[in-house]
Symmetry: C2
Subunit: 415 residues, 2 copies
């Protein structure tokens, strides 16, 4: 399926050079879960001592693997045992009843035995079609081979294997110097449709060689989620499988124990950067996307109202189709502000496309020309700013346009 799709015009030129994270190894295999002639299973093994944090979808119909991961993270087994993450693409094992729980259990048992980590430290994820039974035997048949081919350099292959309708593999990394040494962060992500405000991630795995206690790791991950993965949207739909995990192996020699220390701040900033980069790559690979859109809302009564308005604009089919048509139809932006339910005053709104002042004082700006707006809209990356003139609340969201490509991908075959 993914192979049928042209690579997004907004894709980066190549997969980035990511730092190797000591204590993390990857392996991939072709298990034939649903796709033929491509890898569809990824195993990551984490060295003893690795702490693991996770943030998951809030959907009321969460998949079996998500429920299992949430329980294991809450339980908090001893990091000394190491950990493993196994992900398959093609089938989400969501809404598969008790059989789905059984599949998770059998996969975890097999990984535990082969990789030498306790079941309580095996995390799984499944992404793809909902409601079809996961053929877990095909995955289990590959577990031995996966373990025997683990490789610290195989992060790009891992990013490839977890794709569904993604048209390019997604990776981001950082190398930062701190007073106590170098810290490396590397992350991979998959996701292009069913991307919505709450936990817009699909699947994201980030690794660092810093030593970070689990509670701080969880706090940093959750803290940055609101302005990264929860600030993007493709279609307003929310997956049953969204999972975001962060593992710290502690093999790099730097310990981060206090968020307010120099090391803590540097690590937090770098982590935020990696998360934002991955989140924006998901938008750049939005199903059918031809434009990358940043929505900046300022001057709101508070940040929550700013987010409500930013997401109302970012999710509006009429705004997104106008962008697709390169139409500077700012009237649809006004509509989206108005329908959001957040506080707004028509006569205090200011709208800008890039640096172009489009509307102010309740009407089109005197200096605005349709020609300038139309020329701006031809760019592949657009910034749309709305100032409400009410207070100091602000929020920035990212989305893509809504094109014929989205309809083709989602109407023409089952993903």
């Amino acid at each position: 399926m993914a192979g049928k799709l042209a690579i997004s015009p907004l894709a980066p030129e190549r997969f980035p050079q990511l730092p190797v994270i000591a204590g993390v190894e990857f392996a991939t295999a072709e298990a034939g879960v649903r796709y033929a002639d491509r890898t569809d299973v990824m195993l990551a093994r984490l060295a003893p001592g690795s702490t693991v944090a996770g943030v998951f979808t809030r959907s009321a119909t969460r998949s079996a693997p998500v429920l299992d991961c949430q329980a294991k993270i809450a339980e908090g087994a001893d990091p000394e045992a190491g950990a493993a993450i196994l992900v398959n693409s093609g089938n989400s094992n969501a809404f598969t009843g008790k059989a789905g729980d059984g599949s998770v259990s059998e996969i975890c048992d097999a990984v535990s035995a082969a990789a030498g980590v306790p079941v309580s430290r095996v995390f799984t994820a499944s992404t793809g079609v909902i409601g079809e039974r996961l053929p877990h035997d095909r995955i289990i048949a590959k577990v031995e081979a996966l373990v025997s081919s683990l490789d610290a350099d195989a992060v790009e292959s891992a990013a490839q294997a977890i794709r569904t309708t993604d048209t390019f593999p997604k990776g981001a990394g950082a190398v930062l110097e701190t007073p106590s040494g170098t810290v490396r962060i590397a992350g991979i992500a998959k996701g292009s449709g069913m991307i919505a405000p709450d936990m817009a991630t699909m699947l994201v795995y980030i690794f660092t060689d810093a030593a970070v206690p689990q509670p701080l790791l969880q706090k940093l991950l959750a803290g940055h989620t609101g302005v990264t993965f929860n600030a993007i949207t493709v279609d307003g739909d929310t997956s049953t499988s969204d999972s975001l995990m962060l593992a710290a192996t502690g093999q790099g020699g730097v310990t981060v124990e206090d968020a307010d220390s120099l090391e803590g701040r540097a690590f937090s900033d770098a982590l935020h950067g990696v998360m934002l980069d991955l989140a924006q790559q998901v938008v750049r690979d939005g199903e059918g996307a031809s434009k990358f859109l940043e929505i900046r809302v300022t001057g709101a009564a508070d940040d929550t109202q700013a987010k409500t308005i930013a997401m109302s604009i970012a999710n509006s089919p009429l705004v997104k189709t106008a962008v697709a048509g390169e139409d500077p139809n700012w009237g649809r932006v006004v509509m989206a502000v108005g329908k959001s339910g957040a506080e707004a005053d028509r006569d205090r709104l200011t709208i800008r496309f890039g640096d172009i002042l489009v509307a102010e004082n309740g009407w089109v700006a005197e200096s605005y020309t349709e020609a300038a707006g139309a020329a701006y809209m031809k760019q592949p990356e657009l910034v749309l700013s709305v100032d409400l003139g009410l207070g100091h609340g602000a929020f920035t969201a990212w989305t893509c346009d809504l094109t014929h490509g989205y309809i083709s991908i989602n109407a023409d075959y089952r993903s």
Copy 2:
């Protein structure tokens, strides 16, 4: 613009035969507001004694005519003066600043002078592009001619004139016998895009020859809105111009003063039927629609939760594209239930496509076959039922699919 579009495959065969409402006359004209070679202005004059009720968009960026109508209905001028309604298509006079208010005022003055009703009883509406100044002089130039061509039989022409991207004119009516005589109801509507949960009407005008005091008229209109115009969605976007008005001329000889009388119940039922018929016609003319979809949610904790889930399904781009592709992708329905935020239990959900049991007990039903699901999806009118197994809350919503046609209409030119 509207002329370029093929008629919706879900359109009724013809405009219905509507009863003539004594005390209501219509006229239309080609004012050239935006469209060429078609009527774009509609005037309705209501006889002295007519009461008028209205429900309007909740958008924070309401258009100038909406603000004016709301103020006039709240003010409640004497019905003995009669009333007039003037609607133009092509330009919404929304987000046009003080100039927009001035346009409304000038149009109202002209209609007042020509039609012989006080300004406080002249209601206007504008529908079309947002943010462009309304060329009100072109409308005012036609007012004398409109008044001199008023005709009680011209309701279909009125429905034609108020269209924007609508592919067919929308009308519905009822003739009911009550213990005290015959009551007639006739309504027209326009709307096909920017149709959302809150006030999904675009423009709707309903007339009756019953005599109904204004407070009761308002109560009946508002009471039926929740399960008719607020139960439909095309794209989740909300217009700045949505207006729903109901006028009672009292010229038919029947008085409805008590909602619980025989006359009151019969009138209320018939009004509900006319409103639902018009609301469903708006969905049938949803931009690019090829399928008409009824979403029935039952067994919810309460009606509000049922509505939240029904609208989450009805607004899901992934559900709507699956329907467009005739794919019985019930997994996307599960996703939409889960993302809604309403209470749901995966293992108690029951999903049906028409009479076909698709999923129960947290998984696909044993009796379900993909062939049966696929055959069902080929029909132009579909019923999708979700029972939550939690309580007695219920809600039914109506929507259409999301097709290439929607993208073409909204990306390829400005509406």
